[in-house]
Symmetry: C2
Subunit: 486 residues, 2 copies
């Protein structure tokens, strides 16, 4: 007689405790709730106080308004169905394809074969070479295709780098606070230490090497083996864009303390104030200025097709470049990425298109430029409009938009709101964001999801959503919220 | 005065030792060497003893001869460039698209929005529903879209499941030997225990529950907390296809010892002998036959677009279904996959096309059927031809091809070959495979890359490459090798 076993093998208390401990608020309770509302509205129900859900919780441009760039998608359509290339006349004369679209598709197909085949584990060689050429043009210093690793979005690249860096539970990584929670979540899963250093809100979320040093020294005194420092530039969630002197100071700090630099540069084209300066360019510049001094400063810099004017998150394309790394360590990185075989090949091709877009004089250039500039200007206008709205809201402070896709305002809430939040078992910022969602359908992420100084409250919102209605609904909600809890 | 730091921060001796310990021979030394030869030949050099490299080391159909299925790629081309849908007449009358292609593309676009947008972390809801419908048709038992998780190929799904299952260094997973090295490599990275159970070569690599029990009991007696059992059916590298009684026996064993079953079923359509029976169908059948007895047997079954007649490895599409899992554990799985945001959306769409292909009577059906059957028959013919070649080779024994994309012959080599291998610091099978590559350009994987009984030698080869010339070159090489070392 067979009895039923008492219970399942896996339960919340015996699975991997490091996975359980990981937090990822960008897709947490608020995001799940917002998807429930979206499904509810799609069923045609109209008894909510809003008629649409605005997902301002995540930098997902094409879920909102952003249109893909025509050149990119035309090329991808030919890669998916190369048989179309047999109809050159039809493509050119009837379907709006330009000769350079066909040429690029043919070139990519000649290099990758089928986009349905695995590529080399670190990416198709010709695509890595095209990225190296881009980096040389961007930085004015040589780049080697063998140091470039294609990845499934930058997230996967960060995952790879942290897997190599974290040797045991004493390994520590300096991470900015506030930060994109990929870093804390991945370190949690790896059972390594997140060593927090705070960004300086009073300087529009700039970096302060003094603060980094203090964090480093405190961690070291506690027996943590601090191995690397993460810099997100332009910042997420803050939008801050680092000036040259800050980048130099970080490199100098990394040299002194022998830290690997992980430069998350996925927002490198989303810069409204000043210009983007890559860590690679600055490191090579410093190597040139003081020969020998920086040759062992290891840098991994990441980029992605998900952000910028490309905004192709769903294609999961990205890469990282390693600078000054030990070849034996690179061989281990290659082996690690090979376990997952390769990143999506169509995403790799999109990386190639991103780094090598149509040039002036080429048939697709005019439309590309028009689309690219239109997206850039649209983002800046929305950022400015949202910033203006925050300026007029009681207890809300927010620096001028500098870059990335986010604003990260401070909110000062009345004590009664904090009490009401505590009664629900929530932090005050979670409470505020949940009320905002329920009242307006606008989903943002509480500052606690990114880390913030004790006693301060923030939220992160993208400025990707079109129109001004949603901004108006935030203003109205905020006023009512303050009136209720004042 | 700034001095140069003494050395880089990272070296082979201080990176993550668990990454360093991982082995992944499918893309190891032989594969790297074969790519060098390929690049050499592409430069037009002709002093090698072969004129092309045959990558029989990896199941990568479209790198070799396999053409993508037209319906799939036509739909994907429209998803990448939805503007084409404005030219319905041109598509239908001039470009060979059928109405059901346009209809499917419109439906998918209505569900995912842009393929450039992130989907829900576990995949687009409509695609999960389509997979659930497929599973119901396949198994005759209900499936719930909420239990389905899209992944970047099955590899990424295995990675997720092992991350949840392995709580600490005592956690153990039963893995078949020989096995696809994804399992051993991932367990190494996770610092968990691979508990090996040997497949029975004398029964064409069938499973033997007695052997599983012995491995389980030995591991348990050593303090290992054995949590799950991996079954690869049809087998990789062995090609074995499990009969119903073996599947029932494994489920019974899992019930008795409270083990989660991980059923790697990516080769479910690559079956030449008998029929594929899913673990899900068998488990539900046993739950029905003996109510209550199997309700806590947890099963995760995986599938992929990379294999079968689809063969779209480069698109990194796949999914797993969870059966009888605790909802709290599923919530942790959702959180874990959300850290990497989502799997490639175009790959998700391809999963949908795979599980819901054109049906009889629909416009694209005839061509789809013709292409599908052509690939299936081609694979069977190649498997048979290769098997026949092995039969005539001295010291080579190989069971009849049953399924998957591989043959895994035993090779018996003369003692002098073993000595020559040892002198090079290689195992005899590595030595043999390296010689084969150098002589013929054919890249296979030594049995030691998958695990084999002590004293036995094997290699794994795909039977994907077209033509017979490469098979002839193996026969010729083998004869010469045996003559040299006899």
């Amino acid at each position: 007689m067979m009895g039923s076993t008492a219970a399942r093998r896996l339960n919340i208390n015996n699975i991997n405790p490091h996975v359980k401990a990981a937090k990822y608020a960008v897709r947490g309770e608020l995001a799940v709730k917002s998807e429930e509302y979206r499904a509810y509205l799609q069923r045609g129900l109209t008894d909510l106080p809003f008629s649409q859900v605005i997902s301002a919780n995540i930098g997902n441009p094409q879920q909102l308004d952003q249109k893909p760039i025509t050149f990119f998608r035309q090329v991808l359509s030919l890669l998916e169905n190369p048989a179309l290339l047999n109809y050159e006349d039809v493509l050119l004369s009837q379907l709006g394809y330009k000769p350079d679209v066909l040429e690029r598709a043919r070139w990519l197909l000649s290099k990758v074969g089928s986009v349905g085949a695995y590529s080399a584990s670190n990416g198709a060689p010709a695509i890595r070479q095209s990225i190296a050429d881009f980096l040389e043009r961007r930085d004015g210093f040589p780049a080697n295709q063998a140091d470039i690793y294609l990845s499934a979005g930058a997230s996967s690249g960060v995952n790879t780098l942290l897997h190599i860096l974290c040797a045991n539970e004493k390994s520590g990584i300096l991470v900015p606070i506030p930060q994109y929670p990929l870093y804390t979540a991945s370190l949690s899963v790896l059972n390594a230490k997140c060593v927090e250093y705070h960004l300086d809100e009073s300087r529009n979320w700039g970096t302060d090497v003094k603060v980094m040093k203090e964090a480093y020294e405190k961690a070291t005194s506690e027996g943590i083996d601090v191995r690397a420092i993460v810099i997100i530039n332009p910042g997420n969630p803050t939008g801050a864009s680092l000036p040259e002197e800050d980048i130099r100071a970080v490199i100098e700090f990394a040299r002194e303390e022998r830290l690997v630099i992980i430069a998350d540069e996925v927002y490198q084209t989303n810069v409204f104030i000043g210009e983007f300066i890559s860590f690679k360019r600055m490191l090579r510049q410093m190597q040139k200025e003081t020969p020998g001094a920086y040759d062992y400063v290891e840098l991994a810099s990441l980029h992605s097709v998900s952000k910028g004017m490309v905004g192709e998150c769903g294609h999961r394309g990205g890469y990282f470049e390693l600078v000054n790394f030990d070849p034996e360590v690179q061989a281990e990185i290659y082996k690690f990425v090979s376990i997952m075989l390769c990143s999506p090949v169509i995403g790799q091709c999109l990386v190639e298109l991103m780094v090598n877009p149509p040039k002036p004089g080429e048939p697709s250039y005019a439309l590309y430029k028009q689309e690219y500039d239109g997206i850039f200007n649209g983002l800046r206008e929305r950022a400015t409009a949202l910033h203006k709205a925050f300026e007029q809201m009681e207890g809300v402070e927010c620096g001028s938009p500098q870059g990335s896709m986010y604003l990260f305002p401070t909110i000062t809430l009345p004590p009664k709101a904090t009490e009401a939040a505590a009664a629900e078992g929530r932090t005050a910022d979670e409470f505020y964001c949940m009320r905002l969602l329920k009242a307006t359908g606008v989903c943002v992420v509480p500052g606690s999801g990114f880390g913030q100084k004790d006693g301060s409250l923030h939220f992160r919102t993208t400025f990707l959503a079109p129109g001004t209605e949603w901004v108006g609904s935030i203003i109205k909600f905020h006023k009512e919220f303050m009136d209720t809890y004042r």
